[in-house]
Amino acid sequence: MTQIPVTQISAADMAALVDREEHDFADMQRRHFKARAKMSLENEALRASFLGASNFLVGKRKAMFPDDAELSALRNRGEAIRQHTLNNLPDLLQRLETNLTANGIQVHWAETAEEACWLIHNILQDNNARTVVKGKSMVSEEIELNHYLEQRGIECLESDMGEYLVQLAKETPSHIIMQAIHKNKEQIARLMHSRAQTSDGQAVPYSEDVDELIGNARSILRDKFMTADAGISGVNMAVANTGTLCLVENEGNGRMTTTVPKLHIAVTGIEKVVEDFSQVPDLLTLLTRSATGQKITTYFNMISGPKKPGEKDGPEQVHLVLLDNGRSRIFNHDTLKPTLQCIRCGACMNHCPVYARIGGHAYGSTYPGPIGQVVTPQIGGLQKHGDMLSACSLNGACGDACPVRIPLPKLIRELRSEAVNPDVNHLTADSIRQVFNPVLGRGSKRTLGESLIWRGWSLAHRQPWLYRLMTRLLTRGRKLLPKKLGPWTRSRSMPQAAARSLHELVRDRGVANELNSGESQ
């Protein structure tokens, strides 16, 4: 979309442009993965936004890790900390619960997204809370909390700048850290002017100046912080030994959300626990440096209880909702378990060349990019989400960037295998657990066509004589190969086979076919 100077466009036209973007988004989400990817590839403004953001974030992270040896040591530590958590998960969660409770924080457990929403709604109802202000929480997006609460008459306003903009646009986040990364300044200016409203119902003046835009949002949200009945937040790390919830942020809305309203509800996945504070600093530095290239975020907020007697402020009640939503199932899959090491930094998607070109919305799910490709099919099932698995060249940039050494390409490949697995009933001693905990939708992407192709390929390649016959046909018949061959030749010329294969050439040269007995190293 070309930039349209302000003076040439009326408020009504501006609103129309904003409405169009909302419509395009909704339309895109109704389609399947490939169509979404194609739409994104063809949207030049979107591609420019993502490529620009990608370059920026990759550069920032690199600048923060100038020393390879230090980076490697930190990543080893990060991996060890997260694996330690997983090795002890049920015990740590129980200990967390005990200590949180002793600190006056009420703990709730939710197996499903729906149950989490229901629990949170109950807490709000019990406290007559009608207005909620939200800190940034990807888990709350995962369970679609805002929608659930709004359907029940509870106003739910996002306070993180990126989330606030996404909410105004009636879209979903396209990145887990910088939620509005897909919008450029002009789009945001139009969005604010057309849809943002102060608490006395005034529109916000049009401006493309970033400081002004932020200042306007600050005023609007300040009123909300002041008056909201409840604040809902996520959690970056929960410290089991002390019963402490730790939150990371730059804007201050997280502190506002967890401090000003009388009621604070935190929601997090069950994997976000660490054992004690000695593990926090290194994990924190990995997170902030990997996510936005910062030594530390403006605020690191450590909550170990509600307002105490004698204190002047702070919430009177603090609740934590622990969400499973498929995580315990992932926990039971030996190969895919490292999925749960994730600390939600976003480095993988920043480094992914596919994400940089199709953006976050193409994935059609809360979590985009490489971690999205691993988490989403496991939570939502392979039937619905298996297609995104092919959008990966297995180049490995994500795995290299991951601060806690999740082997993302390996997990993506493993999920591909699950998606086409023919045999749900394959029973071996070690896999009994897995039989009853297979990935949801195992085998649902297996097609007759593709399985026949691979059967044929296997046949041709495990019989040397058949293989050599095939290459002979290919090389002798190379001039007869079609110039067009499916999608390959849409953007590339057809490669030409050689006149004779290597198998033939080496035989002519007299290269030995096998090691003579008696020869040794």
Binding site: R77, T244, V260, F277, P281, D334
Partner: protein
């Protein structure tokens, strides 16, 4: 069986078959290389890089400097906490309001221009202020007013967060029954880069952060905090 029980049962089932030994690294910090002599410079540099203003001062001159800052920035209504140090400073500076009772949100949000906080520690490697909120240091004091002024004694600057969590003070604070209900690391004025990755200051927290670094005071850590 409750959701809790079912979740824990599934996790325990998963654990029994494939339980791994954790690496020793899970409990070995990656220690930084900052020397004590570098703390002050590193601390000031990092805070300044994040757009905070650090004002070195002495215990004798602190009150004068604070009063001067309030004048220069046209700060009329300034809030301060209730610790002994806060009381002492308030007496010397004059004209400050003690945050000694809960405030109406409308007053807190709309009528207060600045808040003066006291940090227990500083962290050099990240330019961070460690604030232990509580009875004497309300949480909103360093959050809601658009200007936050923090007093820190230079002798309380540590190397980094690892050093802080390894300290006896921290360990004791977090192992007693009465834990600090809200411990904070503050490393600059609030900011965001959510609009086309362009950095803007003054998001929802304070727009400005001033840090008075007091060079010859005794450690704030010796001062007992309210139970």
């Amino acid at each position: 069986m409750s959701s809790r029980d079912r979740i824990l049962q599934r996790l325990k089932n998963g654990q029994s078959a494939s339980r791994q030994q954790s690496s020793a690294l899970a409990f070995e910090a990656v220690n930084g290389s900052l020397e004590v002599a570098q703390f002050r410079r590193e601390f000031i540099q990092n805070l300044s890089d994040n757009h905070a203003e650090v004002i070195p001062t002495s215990a004798a001159e602190l009150a004068t400097n604070v009063r001067q800052l309030l004048q220069d920035k046209d700060i009329a209504h300034c809030l301060i906490g209730c610790s002994a140090a806060a009381d002492a400073l308030a007496r010397s500076v004059g004209g400050l309001q003690h945050y000694d009772a809960a405030l109406e949100n409308s007053e807190l949000f709309q009528q207060i221009d600045a808040g003066i906080s006291f940090a227990r520690y500083g962290l050099a490697a990240t330019g961070s202020l460690v604030l232990e909120t509580g009875i004497d240091e309300p949480r909103t004091l360093s959050l809601v007013p658009p200007v936050n002024i923090v007093i820190l004694n230079e002798c309380d600057v540590l190397a980094d967060f690892n050093q802080l969590v390894q300290s006896d003070d921290w360990q004791q604070s977090f192992s007693r029954d009465n834990k600090p209900s809200n411990m904070l690391l503050i490393s600059g004025p609030s900011k965001t880069a959510d609009i086309q990755q362009t950095l803007a200051f003054g998001a929802h927290g304070p727009k400005q952060l001033y840090v008075f670094l007091v060079s010859d005071a005794e450690s704030a850590v010796d001062e007992p905090t309210a139970p």
